[in-house]
């Protein structure tokens, strides 16, 4: 027996709003459902940052015994590894959430709906922030009893570092997502690899001054280099370098705009080439 309800009394006739928080929250909900539905995924999110932190934590303990400098700069390696993980996880958070849609052949459904590509991109940034917090927070908390080091002692500068690295990692994630959209799932390994291209230049575990002279301007064109320089100043000298902070914010605005532009351009090309219906496993 087939029955169909009569039309709703007030059928939906939404105009094409340029931006809808509801649509963004719908996509965040979609990724949240995915995360919530899989305990192994949540464990995996926490696992790698915790392992990294433990290795570098024990190395730090060893170095404290060997070097007076390390003794003065207590916790600098742990802070570095935790901040690096924020950048790495935010990049992965965007790229993996994006890949989920390609793996599930869902792009056609999404973009035949009123969802706009930039709303999707914003939802990717939001869920990336959540995934990063889930991943890095347990490692940061575990460092307190294990090594008597609390990254939270940095106070407000930590919020500045976290936000800047989150945005930079996400911007790289958006650009990578654009590349995968453009070149297909054959390029998906970029999602994991791309952020490592900027790691050597970011001065995560060493000051930018150790890089060759000609490479230092390239490093300082990255927001991450300013963040890690600022982190070292905060941990070793207990000062917050406002200039470094402003540089990282300014550069992040540019990188985020570039990442978003690359993503939207790839989306436009995908619509022209008919890839939204074809892409998937």
């Amino acid at each position: 027996m087939v029955s169909v309800r009569p039309p709703a009394r007030s059928p939906i006739r939404q105009p094409g709003f340029l931006f809808s928080g509801r649509r963004v929250s719908a996509m965040v909900l979609r990724y949240f459902y995915l995360l919530r539905g899989s305990l192994p995924r949540i464990v995996e999110l926490c696992y790698w940052p915790t392992m990294q932190m433990m290795i570098w934590g024990f190395l730090s303990q060893f170095l404290y015994q060997q070097s007076e400098w390390f003794l003065r700069a207590g916790g600098i390696l742990i802070a570095a590894v935790l901040l690096w993980d924020i950048m790495f996880r935010s990049n992965i958070g965007v790229a993996i959430s994006f890949l989920e849609e390609m793996w599930s052949r869902n792009l056609g459904q999404l973009f035949a709906s009123p969802l706009r590509p930039y709303e999707w991109a914003i939802s990717l940034l939001a869920i990336s922030g959540l995934r990063t917090l889930i991943g890095v927070l347990p490692a940061a908390l575990l460092a307190i009893p294990l090594y008597h080091y609390s990254i939270f002692d940095m106070g407000l500068p930590l919020v500045a570092f976290f936000t800047n690295l989150l945005i930079f990692g996400s911007a790289v994630g958006l650009a990578v997502s654009g590349l995968v959209l453009r070149f297909g799932l054959g390029a998906e390994s970029l999602a994991w690899a791309a952020i490592f291209a900027v790691a050597p230049l970011s001065g995560i575990y060493y000051p930018v001054s150790v890089l060759p002279d000609w490479l230092q301007p390239v490093a300082f064109a990255l927001p991450s280099a300013h963040v890690f320089e600022g982190m070292r100043a905060a941990v070793i000298d207990g000062v917050f370098l406002t200039e470094r902070f402003l540089w990282s914010v300014g550069l992040n605005v540019i990188y985020l705009a570039l990442g978003m532009a690359a993503f939207l351009f790839a989306f436009h090309v995908a619509r022209r080439r008919g890839q939204l219906l074809q892409m998937g496993e």
């Binding site: 169909v4 309800r5 039309p7 649509r23 909900l29 995915l34 599930s104 035949a112 969802l115 008919g274």
Partner: protein, 251 residues
Amino acid sequence: MSQYAIRVDGLAKHFGKIVAVDSLTFDVREGEIVALLGGNGAGKTTTISMLLGLLIPTAGSLEVLGVDMLRHRYDALPRLNFSSPYVDLPKRLTVYENLMVYARLYGVADPRARVADLGRDLAIDSFMKRPYGELSSGQKTRVSLAKSLLNEPDLLMLDEPTASLDPDTADWVRTYLKTYQDAHGATILLASHNMHEVERLCDNVLMMKEGRIVDRDSPKALVSRYGRATLEEVFLDIARGRPGPEPVAAQ
């Protein structure tokens, strides 16, 4: 308000040297059920993709529900929906989660109530809590249909809605679509290989071949003009290039 749900003029899509759709011109009136009929590679899915805004045409204009889809597609998208075997829903999300996400994307006022209603109407409430990826083809088709009806669309585009279904489920889906169309006065554009389905459901048929519309009429009129017993025979005449009557309103 336009009396046409779809107006297409000179629509073309080329992929490099391949011409997928070539100068299509057709109208679909509001409240009609129209079939796009043609063999594999005739251009049906490409045409639907362009109507949905998923694919940018190489040339031509298209208007859906009175909206120029090349300029203002977001004004029309909340009022239309689609279902296709070429897309899927996230497999790890449950049926309920999938429908809730899409209900919110379409701006449904009370997503929970709407999902619950569709769950009962389409007899999918017994597997609402199961991951979409674990469903059978028939169950997936029902869920996909539920997704396509979440926003009570004025225009429903269905690409092979009964492909890979057993005859019983396929019949059930056809009956549901007809009932929905009667209750809502909706327009349905249907791409199908199933002649029986088209004869049963559709007011008009657009016969496609190699990216062009080669004939159009009601199923009965086509059968009559070609002097055949069934629409399938007409389809075969056209697909195999047998000489037929002068096409009605050929391009």
